[in-house]
Symmetry: C2
Subunit: 288 residues, 2 copies
């Protein structure tokens, strides 16, 4: 049982980790696919107090170095789903489950790019982790809509158990068709079903008959991660202690709303960690 699981690997997550470490809490960081961050592409950052004119890439390296120096490691695992178990949480990260008394969500800018039918058919054919749910679709046709190269690994895996795999890359991909895997150039438009399960995926190049659609996203829609998490204009609703609508769950950084600034993310990460520490130590909800 961990004191805390930090979900995300950016500045807010790193700042939270730093503070948990200093407060002697045991935690893990599920950083997911780290390649994907707008910050790493920023040519110059001038407004992070104390570090003059630096590229986003170098600032991230500086942050990583600070964590290394404190003996903090990130796991490149992605949290797909979290279950509330009463007084703790079970975090599903592909093949692994992690139990924790608190959660610190720092998943970055919320993307509101769900396609039509995606939310409706979640669990009825729509999934976010092929490794987890693929076996349910043995000998059936499935589609993978992927924002990054991780989807290619999932396609290889599914090709071994499903009758047909359609791969729709949303990034510049050189993925080659093989065996029962077809690459579809069209953009996904909607998930179509009969009310209780998926029947097909509609794309800009026509419909594909499938029993499941897996979306491999850089950032998971936060409300899919944990049921009951209240949102506010697409961001996770938090108060000034970074507490969310669920006891023991804190959010920080871009997923907790604007402005999308490093110093805000870092500041909120430390607040979230200190609020979690208070919660862990008192086993009571931080006063709203």
């Amino acid at each position: 049982m961990f004191d805390s699981v930090i979900i995300g690997g950016g500045p807010a997550a790193m700042s939270a980790a730093l503070n948990l470490k200093i407060r002697n809490k045991n935690f893990i960081i599920l950083a997911g696919n780290e390649k994907v961050t707008g910050l790493s592409k920023a040519p110059s950052i001038e407004n992070y107090l104390g570090i003059k004119n630096i590229s986003g890439k170098d600032l991230l390296s500086t942050f990583e170095e600070h964590l290394d120096n404190m003996g903090i490691e990130k796991k490149n695992e992605m949290a797909y789903n979290i279950l509330s178990m009463g007084d703790y949480f079970a975090v599903n990260a592909g093949n692994n489950f992690y139990d924790a008394r608190t959660l610190i969500i720092a998943t970055g800018k919320a993307k509101n790019n769900l396609i039509e039918g995606e939310e409706k058919y979640l669990g009825m054919g729509v999934g976010y982790c092929a490794t987890c749910d693929g076996p349910l679709y043995r000998n059936k046709a499935v589609a993978i809509v992927s924002e990054n190269e991780e989807g290619e690994e999932e396609a290889r895996f599914l090709s071994e158990i499903c009758s047909k795999v359609y791969y729709l890359p949303l990034y510049k991909s050189n993925f080659q068709e093989f065996n029962n895997v077809s690459v579809v150039k069209g953009k996904p438009k909607s998930v179509i079903g009969n009310g209780s399960k998926i029947t097909s995926l509609s794309t800009s190049e026509g419909n594909i008959d499938v029993d499941a659609v897996f979306f491999i996203r850089n950032v998971l829609p936060v409300n899919q991660l944990l049921e009951g998490l209240e949102l506010d204009d697409g961001s996770i609703k938090v108060n000034r202690t970074m507490a969310t609508s669920i006891s023991g769950v804190y959010a920080c950084g871009d997923c907790a709303g604007k402005p999308f600034q490093i110093s805000k993310a870092v500041g909120e990460g430390s607040i979230a960690a200190l609020s979690a520490v208070k919660y862990i130590d008192s086993n009571m909800e931080v006063k709203l």
Copy 2:
């Protein structure tokens, strides 16, 4: 007319300044008496992401250097009182007045050490700026209660116009009595008056008959600074955009509440600045 006046000189104020500068706003920083900060005495700070294990003094120097590098200067003037003028604010800093469309308050940890009667007799003998109000007490007896050496300068000034000056240092002072100035060793206990004006100052060593008491504080009680500013448990009440109860006024850092952390102060400073920028650019209140 400035776009903004920043009141305070610590990390929150510096971060706000950095962001206003980048957004091309014209502003001044009234940093007051900068010697006084708990941060400068911290032996080691490990949780400001990106800057490993540094003393508080060196971290402050690093911050100052960043500001220098951006061509930002602080004024060592202290804001004593702010008047709301409808769509702008007039900030009284001793002999100078500064007009600004927005205010960013970053005065540090609120001290709730007002003595009995202090608030009641504000403007009826109690004051926070001897230079400003001293002339009202020509040929009268006054007391100065001072948390720092600035009070000594005020005592010298008042000794020239008042009949008697009692000096009560609340710090380790080597101040010497001279002419009509007496140093009182007792601690101030309460301000006593007749309902409309002060008659004496009660101290642990007895009462002193005076017509005025000037309190020279490291940090001014925030609610004395600007009338109508709502507090919450002694801190300035803010929402997530760092907006206070008064349109165009933002607060950040320790004066806006716990936790008292550098990264929180820096993050809030940038949020406050960006909210002020939005307000200035739209001339409308930031949505609460």
